[in-house]
């Protein structure tokens, strides 16, 4: 079956998400928001999960860090995964925890060999506890650091090879990072190893209030931009269809508005699938 498009699940849309008849509709949540004992939030998720596939997209494992992943957090994630049986679990190429403090953001780091080794070890630990492969997402970057020993594509490819993890490619993050740091988004999109990619994210961005267009912020608070749709088309034309999320976390619009974006992504996945079938027939 062709991979389909899904939506971020927000409390504002619980009732509509439960009722939506859209074929192939799946939902994605941040597991951190469901790490509780009980109550209505978990009950809604359970009801929606009965009708739709679910993806758990973590923000808190802090895998690009010199410390081991937080054990309590990993166990809580495993508990949610056991209960809700997500079709995919993903995390980020970033860190957030250091010295007992949690910084609620996806923080950058110099891509050194030392960092790569730590991240491979941390991803492997997470996969051991979860007893499954996870996907790792490319971050949106705002700082031009020095001291990198490899490109982000090389690091992600090597990470996938050594840890066995897959990749989640956020096309908006590629666009935002390329704009902010001055690299070519198309070249990045063309270089990611196709076999490792298990999911795609599409989201919106806006210019930084102080700096302007030279510094784009990955807000998840706007509609997907045309530039990002073009890059998405380029990616699925090369690699074929993958489960694709319309990611919205802020400035949440009406559910129908998100369904429209989801429909557009879904049609592009169908087309990419048909193209892949034709190429296979001609091979």
């Amino acid at each position: 079956m062709t991979p389909t498009a899904g939506l971020s699940l927000k409390p504002q849309h619980y009732a509509e998400a439960l009722a939506t008849p859209a074929v192939g509709q799946w939902f994605e949540v941040h597991p951190e928001n469901y790490m509780c004992e009980g109550g209505p939030r978990l009950a809604w998720l359970a009801a929606i999960r009965e009708r739709h596939p679910l993806s758990l997209h973590g923000v808190g494992l802090s895998l690009a860090a010199s410390e081991d992943p937080d054990r309590v957090h990993l166990v809580a994630l495993k508990k949610l995964a056991d209960r809700f049986e997500p079709f995919v679990i993903s995390e980020h190429l970033a860190w957030s925890q250091r010295g007992g403090i949690y910084n609620p953001d996806l923080l950058p780091f110099p891509r050194t060999l030392d960092a790569l080794q730590r991240i491979v070890a941390n991803v492997s630990q997470a996969q051991d506890v979860l007893q499954r492969r996870i996907l790792i997402e490319n971050p949106s970057l705002y700082l031009d650091l020095q001291g990198h020993e490899m490109s982000e594509v090389d690091l992600l490819s090597e990470l996938a090879k050594r840890s066995g993890c897959g990749l989640l490619i956020d096309v908006n993050n590629v666009f935002v990072s390329a704009n902010n740091l001055g690299f070519e988004a198309e070249a990045y999109i063309d270089a990611i190893p196709a076999a490792a990619i298990g999911e795609i994210h599409l989201a919106g961005h806006r210019p930084d209030i102080a700096v302007g267009e030279n510094l784009l912020i990955d807000t998840h608070g706007e509609a997907v931009s045309e530039d990002v749709w073009t890059l998405f088309q380029r990616l699925v034309t090369r690699i074929g269809p993958r489960a694709t999320l319309i990611e919205r976390d802020d400035n949440i619009p009406a559910f129908d508005e998100l369904l429209t974006e989801r429909h557009r992504a879904g049609a592009m996945l169908e087309a990419a699938s048909a193209r892949a079938d034709r190429e296979l027939a001609h091979a």
Partner: protein
């Protein structure tokens, strides 16, 4: 010290504007990108507090609330990636917050918000019905005992405080409330 660890320490200090050790890794000094991370970290913690304490925010206004919450996050930053447990110390902090000295009830309102939040995420359990209790005689009750539902929270406060809290419960405050 391995480089990743050294970088994280320097960056964490830069987020709090405590040191410029991150400069060694920056191509441009005072890169405005650093502020993006600072703003996101603060906004993430403040958003979490805004979800937990909507009644306080309704009483003082969003701008005042967010400014106060940002100060709280500097003294008591989140420690865990699931921020559902963040903010337990906020009511006591608010009670001692000098700019709130004229409104001593704010800390108490925050306390009720906190209890509501805890109850909201507490474990699920079936309720004992009156008809089920009616089938128990005294010795049954002694033997089995009765337990409070996991979502029960007890607090003692002035009656006007309850009215104040109730008067500021608007459905628009929180989609889950």
């Amino acid at each position: 010290m391995p480089e990743l660890e050294a970088f994280q320490d320097a960056f964490a200090a830069a987020l709090r504007r405590e040191s410029s050790a991150t400069d060694a890794w920056l191509k441009t000094p005072d890169d405005p990108g650093l502020d993006v991370y600072r703003n996101t970290v603060t906004a993430g913690a403040v958003d979490a507090l805004a979800s937990i304490f909507p009644t306080v925010s309704a009483l003082v206004g969003e701008a005042w609330f967010r400014a106060a919450a940002a100060r709280f996050t500097r003294v008591t930053p989140p420690t865990r990636p699931s921020m559902l447990d963040y903010g337990e110390a906020f009511p006591a902090w608010m009670s001692m917050f000098p700019p709130a000295a004229d409104t001593p009830y704010l800390g108490l309102v925050a306390h009720i918000d906190w209890l509501w939040w805890e109850a909201h995420f507490a474990g699920d359990a079936d309720l004992l019905s009156f008809s089920a209790i009616a089938t128990l005689d005294e010795s049954d009750l002694d033997r089995r005992g009765l337990k409070l539902h996991p979502a029960v929270r007890l607090a003692r406060f002035d009656q006007t405080l309850a009215s104040l809290w109730l008067a500021h419960q608007a459905p628009a405050l929180s989609v889950e409330r």
